[in-house]
Symmetry: C2
Subunit: 336 residues, 2 copies
C-alpha cells in the first residue's frame, strides 16, 4: 500500500523550519506473523518533538535523520496477523508522521485498543492520552495540592494545560492559567473552568507577577511549568513557602539559546521543591490517570479543544505553529 511519510531530513540550526522535513512516499511492507497494519486517522504534534530534532542530549534519544518523525497516532486496524487485534479495532500507538504503520502487536505498549463510545478517538492523543497523563502526574504526584490551594499552569490552553486545569478544579483548587492572547485566556476560564487566566504577551516578569498577585491573592502553592522564561520567573515571584514546581517543558528555550531562571534564590527563600519529569518514565500511573481523565471527558465535564490540520503534508507547518503558540488546544493532524 502506498504510504506517505514525513522524515526528518536535517537538524535545525537555531529555529526549526519546514526545510528540516521531507515528504517521502514508501510502500507498506507485507505483514509478518504477529503484525498488524494500522491506518492513522490522527497524528499528535507535541512540543517534546522539538527537543528530539536536535542531536544533543535530551531526555529522549534524538530523532534519527532520514527516518519517519516519531510520534503518537490513533487509527484503525485495517489488516491483522495477530490474534490480539482485528480489522476495525480503534487503536492508539506511536505510528509516527505517516499514513500507515506496521506494528508488532506482541511488543508491550506498542498498540492499545480504545473504546470510542464516549470518548472521541482523537482525544486519546490529548486529554485521555499522553498530555492528559502528563498533567495528572505533575498535579497528583509532584504538586499534590490540598483543596483550596492555588495552582498555576503555563500554556494553559494547550492539551496539557487544560487537562491540568480540569483535574485541579475537580480537586477543589483555585486554578490560574497563563496563556498567549485574550481568546485563549477567555477559553480556559469560560469553557474549562479556570478561576483566572493571564495573558503573558508583551509583559516582562515583573508586570506579569503583578497580575498574578491579583489572580492569586493567597500566593501560589503549585506550578505546572510548560514554558519557562518570564512565565516561570513571574510565578516564582509569587510562590508561597513549600510550593512545588512540576517542570514539564521549557518551550520558550526550545528553539535557540537557553532561557535562564532569573531568581533561583527564591527556590531557597520559599523552600520550593522542583521536579523535572517525563511521563513515559512513570507508566505505573497511566491506568489510574487514564481512568480519571476518561471519566472527566466521557461525562462531558471536561471538553478539550483541538486544533486540527488537514492532511499529512500540513504536519510540518502545524508543528512549527505549535512551537510559536499558534495552536489553540491539542494540535492534531487529520489524515482520514
Amino acid at each position: 500500500m502506498q504510504n506517505r511519510q514525513i522524515h526528518l531530513d536535517n537538524r535545525p540550526k537555531g529555529e526549526a523550519s519546514a526545510s528540516n522535513f521531507k515528504l517521502v512516499t514508501a510502500e507498506t511492507p507485507a505483514l509478518a506473523d504477529g503484525q498488524v497494519l494500522v491506518r492513522h486517522h490522527f497524528l499528535s504534534l507535541d512540543p517534546y518533538m522539538r527537543g528530539r530534532m536536535n542531536e544533543s542530549k535530551s531526555y529522549a534519544q534524538p530523532q534519527p535523520l532520514g527516518q519517519v518523525m516519531q510520534g503518537g497516532t490513533v487509527g484503525e486496524v485495517v489488516e491483522s496477523r495477530s490474534p490480539k487485534f482485528a480489522a476495525g479495532d480503534k487503536v492508539v500507538g506511536m505510528g509516527g508522521w505517516q499514513e500507515y504503520s506496521v506494528v508488532d502487536a506482541d511488543q508491550v505498549g506498542m498498540l492499545r485498543k480504545v473504546d470510542t463510545t464516549h470518548v472521541p478517538l482523537s482525544h486519546y492523543l490529548g486529554a485521555v492520552g499522553m498530555p492528559g497523563v502528563t498533567a495528572w502526574y505533575g498535579l497528583v504526584k509532584i504538586i499534590d495540592p490540598k483543596p483550596g490551594q492555588t495552582v498555576m499552569v503555563s500554556a494553559a490552553s494547550g492539551a496539557v494545560g487544560t487537562a491540568f486545569g480540569a483535574l485541579a478544579k475537580a480537586r477543589g483548587c483555585r486554578v490560574v492559567g497563563i496563556a498567549g492572547g485574550p481568546d485563549k485566556c477567555k477559553y480556559v476560564v469560560e469553557e474549562i473552568g479556570f478561576d483566572a487566566c493571564i495573558d503573558y504577551r508583551g509583559k516582562d516578569a515583573y508586570a506579569l507577577s503583578k497580575e498574578i498577585a491579583q489572580a492569586a491573592p493567597d500566593g501560589v502553592d503549585g506550578l505546572f511549568e510548560n514554558v519557562g522564561g518570564v512565565c516561570l520567573d513571574a510565578v516564582m515571584l509569587r510562590m508561597n513557602a513549600f510550593a512545588r514546581i512540576a517542570l514539564c517543558g521549557m518551550i520558550a528555550g526550545y528553539d535557540g539559546q537557553p532561557v535562564p531562571m532569573t531568581y533561583p534564590q527564591l527556590l531557597l527563600v520559599n523552600r520550593v521543591r522542583l521536579e523535572g519529569f517525563i511521563v513515559s518514565e512513570h507508566m505505573e500511573v497511566w491506568p489510574q490517570a487514564l481512568q480519571e481523565l476518561g471519566q472527566l471527558v466521557g461525562s462531558g465535564k471536561f471538553r478539550p479543544r483541538e486544533s486540527v490540520a488537514q492532511g499529512l503534508e500540513s504536519a510540518p507547518e502545524a508543528f512549527l505553529g505549535l512551537l510559536k503558540g499558534r495552536n489553540f488546544g491539542k494540535q492534531l493532524v487529520k489524515l482520514v
Copy 2:
C-alpha cells in the same frame, strides 16, 4: 554586669559593610525566676545572617534594627535561677553577638547542655551543630545517595561543606568539592577525605564543568549547593538523570543582584529533583543527625577546621570576610 553587644544599625544597600553594625555597651538585667545568665565563649558567624540583614522577604524574619545581631553561641552558665541549669554548665543557644545573654530556660529549644568530654565546645556551633545538621539533612533527606554514587558540594571547605563530605564518605560515596583557592582544595582532599576538589576561582561555568567531568567521570548524582551562580551552572552541566539538588544557600547573590540559573532546562532534561530547605524547620532530624556527627568528631574521624576571630569587636569584619570566602572552615568569634 557590663555586656558589650553588636547591633544592626542600618541595612546594607547592596554589599554589606562594617558601617551597618554598631558596638554598644549595655548592662545585663537581673535574673528573674527560671532565667539563667550565660557567658558566651564563641559566637557563630553564618552566611544566612546576610539574608536577614535585608528588610525584604527571606526565609526568616529580618534582623530587627537597633537590636543585638542574632546568632548561635556556646558558653557557660555563670548564674542560674532555673533548676535545669547550674553554674558551670556548658551550653549552646542563640545568644547573639554579645558577651552575655539572659535566657528563659523553660522555653523549649532556647538552651541545650552539651558534653565537652570528646567534642570541643566550639564544634557545637559547627560540625556538631546547625551547620553539621544542615549537611546531614541535605545529604540524607534530599540527596539520599547510594554507595558509589558521586555527590558534590560547593563551599566545600566551610562548616557545612566539610561535614557534608565527611558524612558522604562515611556512606561510601565519591565526593567532589568546589572551593575557592588551592589551599582549601588541598585541605578537603587531604584532611577531610574528599576524592577531589576543584578551585572555582577565575573560571566560567564551562571551564569549571570540564574539570568536573574529570573529577566526576561517572557524572554527578547529587549536589549540595551553598553558592549558586557559576558553581551551580557548572555542576548542572554534569548531572546524571534523576540527580538531586539540595539547595541550601546562594551566597553568590547575597550581596547584590540575583544571580540567575543559566540552564534551567537541564532540570527537565535530567529529571532533576531540587529542594530548597532550612534546617530549623526540620527539628525532628536533629537528634539523629547530632548523634552521627558527634560520633564522627568524637572518634577523630572528622576533624573540622575553624577560623577564629578574637574579641567581640572583630565580629563585623569576620562576618564580611565570610561572605567573601576569606574564612577557612567554620567562622567563629572567640570572646573568652
